[in-house]
């Protein structure tokens, strides 16, 4: 992978991290669960917010192997997948804030964000529910003779639900173009997945169905990207489904208000040493990137106009910014996205009756 390519992945990981940092802040006090009560003043982001801090390399590495017209399905922990597939953070924030410009017009919230324009077919509030949906979308692609594939993300806890077996069996029977991705962050809500999982997990189960697999370090974006690219090209070539088992770790609690006091703090400390963003920074620095430019004059590219485009396309090799500058750019962009989202209007109450169904929706016809 070229340094430019890696820088681009780095930037997307930063974008996810910055997005979730802001979302996290905005959600504090927003859900009563895990012993935390709702605060008196409602939080800007309400409802359960599942953060993927520490797992960014999986989303980014996998989506790097996908084409624009490929599709993905996601989980309740889907911000990273959305951003990695190309969704716009401001419309995601607008959705988290429940505003009219949200991707789902404020109807879905965090657990339902989708952006069909970039092939993101939906997060899902039901564990493992995205698996059969991914499989069906792939069957549609295959039926129409399209070369599109579907990447299907799910957690390590999801492999104990029936649809995991059913969906994988189905994809293999019909030889469908699906890249299954198990994001193994070691936890199923507050429970250690290992305690609830027989055998070797996702990859072993897939192999028992004749599905070829790879296992990778899910915090190493290069390793993820390499494995995903290999599997995705096999899938695209008509070889049927593949499964990638990416081993990672969830830095935060299950939802933003979960203090995760059920974990040994040392476990987290050890995991933080393998922060996927820091790991990438180390590689980039080995390849000659600098941490900070010590330049006092701000880079002109940081201007709000071109910031989005610059981050999307990446600078040319001659104009690589320092990593700190990139971080700052990204953070500013994301802050800007949040500001823009905060300015979005609330949906009309009447919208609650729209997009229900045509024949006899909410209001009696």
């Amino acid at each position: 992978m070229s340094t430019e390519q890696l820088l681009e992945l780095y930037r997307v990981m930063l974008r996810i991290r910055a997005f979730e940092d802001l979302a996290d802040q905005a959600s504090q006090g927003g859900t009563s669960a895990f012993g935390q009560a709702t605060s008196a003043a409602p939080a800007p982001v309400r409802g359960p917010l599942h953060l993927s801090h520490g797992q960014e390399a999986v989303a980014v590495g996998v989506c790097a192997s996908l084409h624009a017209d490929d599709a993905i399905t996601s989980t309740h922990r889907g911000h990273g997948h959305c951003i990695a597939k190309g969704a716009d953070p401001w419309r995601m924030f607008a959705e988290l804030l429940g505003r009219a410009d949200g991707y789902n017009a404020g109807k879905g919230g965090s657990m339902h964000i989708a952006d069909f324009s970039v092939g993101m077919l939906g997060s899902n509030g039901v564990v493992a529910a995205g698996i059969p949906i991914a499989v069906g979308a792939a069957q549609a692609f295959k039926l129409r003779g399209e070369s599109r594939i579907v990447a299907c993300f799910f957690g390590d806890g999801a492999i104990n639900r029936g649809p995991f077996l059913e969906g994988l069996n189905w994809a293999q029977v019909f030889q469908l173009p699906v890249l299954f991705v198990c994001e193994d962050n070691r936890y199923s809500a507050t429970t250690r997945s290992a305690d609830m999982t027989a055998g070797e997990g996702a990859a072993a189960r897939a192999r028992a169905l004749g599905i070829a697999t790879q296992v990778c370090d899910g915090n190493d974006v290069i390793a993820v990207a390499r494995a995903a690219a290999e599997l995705a090209s096999q899938v695209r070539a008509g070889g049927g489904p593949r499964l990638l088992h990416a081993i990672t770790y969830r830095f935060k609690g299950h939802v933003s208000v979960d203090p995760a006091s059920y974990r040994d703090p040392r476990e987290l400390d050890r995991a933080l040493e393998h922060d996927p963003i820091e790991l990438t920074e180390r590689v980039l620095m080995e390849r000659g990137c600098v941490a900070s430019a010590h330049a006092s004059k701000p880079d002109s590219r940081i201007g709000s106009e071109s910031a989005a485009r610059a981050a999307a396309t990446g600078p040319g090799p001659s104009e690589i910014a320092s990593l700190d500058e990139i971080k700052r750019h990204v953070r500013e962009q994301i802050e800007h996205a949040m500001q823009r989202a905060l300015a979005s209007p609330w949906p009309d109450a009447a919208a609650a009756f729209e997009d229900v169904q045509d024949s006899g929706g909410g209001v009696w016809r």
């Binding site: 899902n124 969906g167 024949s359």
Partner: protein, 354 residues
């Protein structure tokens, strides 16, 4: 029941569709069983629109009730998809197909097994359009053979239409004749949102005329949300659906001989339901009896009665549904849960003090 005319249709042993061709050689009308009408509707829809596909267990061999007969041969295994025994994924994959632009027609064997796919029906198919903020829609039809199937016992005999009527995002259709079966299935497949299409297991062999080439007749019969007045009357209105129609029409015929004039309304779809037709009739006759095979408690009859009670307190109201018991296997036990013309007659006699 055997060979007598019931609600305009004749029940008899299954046979091949019997086309009545006019002198011009153009088919004018055919006599079809509900199973044949169903297969024909799906075949016609698949011919008309390449995005229509069908999936379910055993449909390649025509399905348990022959309602998919002939489809595999014509459309091939890519569009007539035999599936593993994986109800969750049959439904879930159909949602994915629909989100990706197909129009799947899903077979779930019997409504009882839809219980194995309820998350996919209710949390995914029904809500997707709304939750996605209208970014995508889920045009699919969920075909659920329902109702008591002689001797099939508690896990193969349920009527769960009131569940689906309760769920925002679902249209609920329950045809009672071959014509309605054909026409409503065509409309259901054309719907851009999910339709639950409940087909009564004991109606598959019911035969009746289906004017396949009379487009306006088909379009008329295929209107979702419009009830069909199967019989006019002035003393009392009976509102029913699905197999209930047969029993209610027979009951009305019996009561006619005794000077009681019963109007029979076949609701045909429960959501949307033809509130106007029911209320208009009930106001005219002054009495409304809602009849269904499902358990009475929290059945859809409650919704019909409650709706009328709220708006038109002058209408006298009654329900006739099954007791709140599982359907038994043995004939005397099963009979306790079964709707019959006699039960309808008795309910009316008792009510009117005959």
């Amino acid at each position: 029941m055997s060979d007598r005319t019931v609600g305009g249709v004749v029940r008899s042993a299954p046979a091949a569709g019997n086309a009545t061709s006019g002198a011009t050689g153009v088919e004018q009308s055919v006599d079809l069983s509900c199973a044949e009408a169903a297969a024909r509707a799906l075949a016609d829809a698949m011919r008309a629109d390449p995005s229509v596909v069908t999936l379910g267990e055993d449909i390649g061999r025509g399905g348990v009730f022959a309602q998919y007969r002939g489809l595999l041969a014509e459309f091939g295994a890519q569009r007539v998809i035999d599936t593993p025994i994986s109800e969750s994924t049959i439904m879930g994959a159909a949602v994915g197909m629909a989100l990706a632009g197909l129009r799947p027609v899903v077979e779930l064997r019997v409504v009882d097994f839809a219980l194995c796919a309820m998350d996919e029906i209710v949390n995914q198919a029904a809500k997707a359009r709304f939750m996605l903020g209208g970014q995508a829609r889920v045009p699919l039809v969920i075909r659920l053979p329902g109702g008591i199937w002689s001797g099939a016992a508690a896990q193969h005999s349920q009527s769960l239409e009131s569940w689906f009527a309760h769920i925002p995002g679902l249209t609920v259709v329950m045809p009672a004749t071959p014509l309605a079966h054909y026409a409503l299935l065509r409309t259901a497949i054309e719907s851009a949102d999910p339709v639950v299409f409940i087909e009564h297991k004991e109606l598959w062999t019911l035969r009746g005329p289906v004017p396949l080439h009379d487009h306006s007749a088909i379009a008329h019969a295929g209107r979702i949300g419009v009830a069909h007045t199967a019989r006019s009357g002035s003393d009392l209105t009976v509102c029913t659906w699905s197999r209930g129609l047969q029993h209610c029409v027979l009951a009305a015929e019996q009561l006619e001989g005794r000077g009681v004039s019963v109007e029979v309304i076949d609701l045909q779809s429960l959501w949307p339901w033809d509130k106007q037709a029911v209320i208009e009739s009930a106001q005219r006759t002054g009495r409304l009896l809602v009849v269904h095979e499902a358990v009475q408690v929290a059945g859809f009859g409650a919704e019909v009665v409650a709706t009328v009670a709220e708006a038109h307190p002058e209408v006298k109201l009654r329900r006739l549904g099954a007791p709140r018991i599982p359907v038994g296997y043995s004939p005397p036990l099963e009979a306790v849960s079964m709707l019959t013309a006699d039960r309808v007659v008795s309910a009316i006699e008792q009510w009117l003090g005959l």
